[in-house]
């Protein structure tokens, strides 16, 4: 099977985050980036299915130059090629604009399956994959925790996570877009050989024009959402904090838990 996997590069939220000067995003200097968590599971699922069926994985990512690092990592664990939607016009999109651009890029080739993550850890739209599917006219399933190919790879048994520990099992005709949830598998690590090999693999750069799209249809211009500002939330009452060296802090906490909260 030929499988497309969409991966987004997102800030590592464990890093110290600073709001950018224009107040609309983060200061990116010194900010570490990683492959979005559920996307690394989507990539692993794609690699497994490609190995099983003797196919290949092509990875797609929309974003600025730094995104090449994420694509290289995907190539290092086994993707065959990469497509980078690199033009500045693509940036700042909402799920509708990004889904439209990714769909146009995927449509330039023929795939049997498209995998995405279920949600980006930075913007958290949870919808880019479904919108991509809408453009292709393929079925989609969001929050996939299991994929089992059936007879002739014409359909798949798909497990979709529901709330509170229940899963839905369904049969989905292929081709389809499956939006993979974290935890479905155990993503592999890159080997040294893989890392060396990645450097020789192709990363194709595409612009809106290459995809038959007008710059006004993608990125911030093609979005219905416009960012006014980003800010740290005002913390409500907040927690009572215990400071000082560990011993002092812990002693004060235990004292509170006994006398004030009465839970010990």
């Amino acid at each position: 099977m030929r499988i497309a996997v969409c991966i987004k590069q997102v800030p590592n939220t464990e890093a110290r985050l600073r709001v950018s000067r224009d107040g609309k995003w983060l200061e990116e200097e010194d900010l570490p980036f990683v492959i979005n968590e559920s996307d690394s599971y989507a990539l692993e699922e794609g690699l497994k299915l490609a190995e099983k069926t003797g196919g290949e994985v092509v990875v797609f990512s929309l974003g600025p130059e730094r995104v090449k690092d994420a694509l290289l990592k995907a190539l290092a664990v086994g993707a065959a090629r990469a497509v980078h939607l690199a033009d500045p016009a693509f940036l700042g999109g909402d799920a509708l604009a990004t889904g439209r651009a990714l769909a146009a890029a995927v449509q330039r080739e023929s795939f049997d399956l498209v995998l995405t993550g279920s949600q980006s850890d930075d913007l958290r739209f949870g919808g880019t994959g479904s919108i991509l599917a809408g453009h292709l006219g393929w079925p989609h399933v969001w929050l996939v925790m299991g994929v089992e190919l059936e007879e002739g790879n014409r359909s798949a048994k798909v497990t979709r996570e529901m709330e509170s520990g229940v899963n839905e099992l369904s049969r989905v005709p292929l081709p389809a877009v499956l939006e993979i949830q974290a935890g479905i598998n155990h993503p592999r690590y890159a080997s040294l050989k893989g890392i060396m090999a990645a450097k020789k693999k192709e990363i194709a750069r595409v612009t809106p024009a290459d995809l038959g799209l007008d710059a006004a249809q993608v990125g911030a211009a093609g979005s219905r959402l416009e960012v006014v500002s980003v800010a740290f939330p005002e913390s409500g009452a907040g927690a009572q904090m215990f400071e000082g060296d560990v011993k002092t802090a812990v002693a004060a906490l235990v004292d509170k838990l006994r006398r004030e909260a009465r839970v010990l």
Binding site: L143, V158, R160, E163, G183, V246
Partner: protein
């Protein structure tokens, strides 16, 4: 006057709390956008009871799409029913509860009808130049304020807990009306084979008096020992955030959160957990919440009652010793 709709999610005739929250959001939105009343849509099969529940809220209309093809949820049928209604009615906003079901079909519905998509909002303000919406980004560490531009309907989903269910204005005066749906043209996009419990839920954490919950910050399965010691000292159960389970450090039946168990023990100690919304919905009802995290900006400190900023590998063993000493 803006036209505000709310799509109410029901399950076997019952309305989950988040559906009331979506109704509350729609009423608030209608009030701030010209003072009219919102209209509700309920989808399903044999849902008279749920529709009657919805009609208790103060709404301009309750539309009921009652159709066999809507009995078991599939995105194809739901999108088919709602796309036609949206094309006909041209609402300004359609409000949804942000649930695993709505996220499965609402983005595609937006794409299909050419609507805007505004997922998981926690609030809005009417400022100059129209409504400004708030939505959490980056795991809840920051908030983004966004505006909608362009013409046409916007589909907006509201985060669990953001609009209190008890703020719903009751005293509804309207009877539910059938909403005609033509689903003949809908291609089945998934054939439902059944539903199954995940991992059989072996441990019932809802009965625990105290819980020590471990997050990704613990760093590995081999580092769990001191947390288990703390749990032992407290007589507590061990539980975890999702990544700990996904990494295989603890079994799935120990997961707390929207796709795990929902607990409200007397004492909940969160160590190395950032406090993402999907985790918080599973534990924020706990009587006393203690957070231990090396990042003072971690959102968990906003719901915790007591907090220590520090390395859990130092704090936890010290806490265990102090608890043991206190218990004598």
């Amino acid at each position: 006057m803006a036209r505000i709709w709310v799509v109410v999610q029901q399950r076997e005739g019952q309305l989950p709390r988040i559906s009331w929250e979506a109704i509350a959001a729609a009423q608030k939105l209608a009030a701030s956008a010209g003072g009219g009343k919102a209209e509700a849509i309920v989808l399903g099969a044999g849902i008279g009871l749920a529709a009657a529940e919805v009609a208790k809220a103060d709404l301009a209309a309750v539309h009921v799409a009652d159709h066999e093809a809507l009995r078991a949820y599939t995105p194809g049928a739901y999108i088919g029913a709602l796309a036609a209604a949206i094309r006909d009615g041209k609402p300004d906003f359609v409000v949804f509860p942000h649930t695993y079901q709505s996220v499965d079909y609402v983005p595609r519905l937006a794409q299909e009808v050419g609507a805007g998509l505004l997922p998981e909002v926690t609030g809005f303000d009417s400022g100059e130049g129209g409504l400004v919406w708030t939505r959490p980004i980056l795991g809840g560490k920051l908030q983004s304020k966004v505006r909608v531009k362009g013409e046409g309907t916007v589909l907006v989903s509201v985060q669990s807990g953001a609009f209190p269910a008890d703020s719903v204005a009751k005293g509804g005066q309207v009877d539910p009306q059938p909403l005609a749906v033509d689903l003949a043209a809908v291609k089945p996009d998934r054939e439902i084979l059944g539903y199954e419990e995940v991992a059989g839920e072996k441990v019932d954490l809802t009965k625990a008096n105290s819980i020590v919950a471990v997050g990704r910050g613990v760093g590995g399965a081999d580092k769990l020992g001191p947390l288990e010691e703390l749990a032992k000292a407290l007589g507590a159960e061990i539980a975890a955030s999702r990544p700990v389970i996904d990494n295989g450090w603890l079994p799935r039946d120990r997961q707390i959160g929207s796709s795990g168990q929902t607990v409200a023990p007397r004492l909940y100690i969160a160590a190395g957990i950032s406090g993402a919304i999907q985790h918080l919905v599973g534990m924020k009802g706990s009587s006393v919440i203690v957070a231990i995290n090396k990042d003072p900006g971690a959102p968990i400190f906003n719901v915790a009652h007591y907090g220590i900023v520090g390395d859990l590998h130092e704090v936890v063993p010290a806490l265990t010793a102090a608890v043991r000493a206190a218990k004598g």
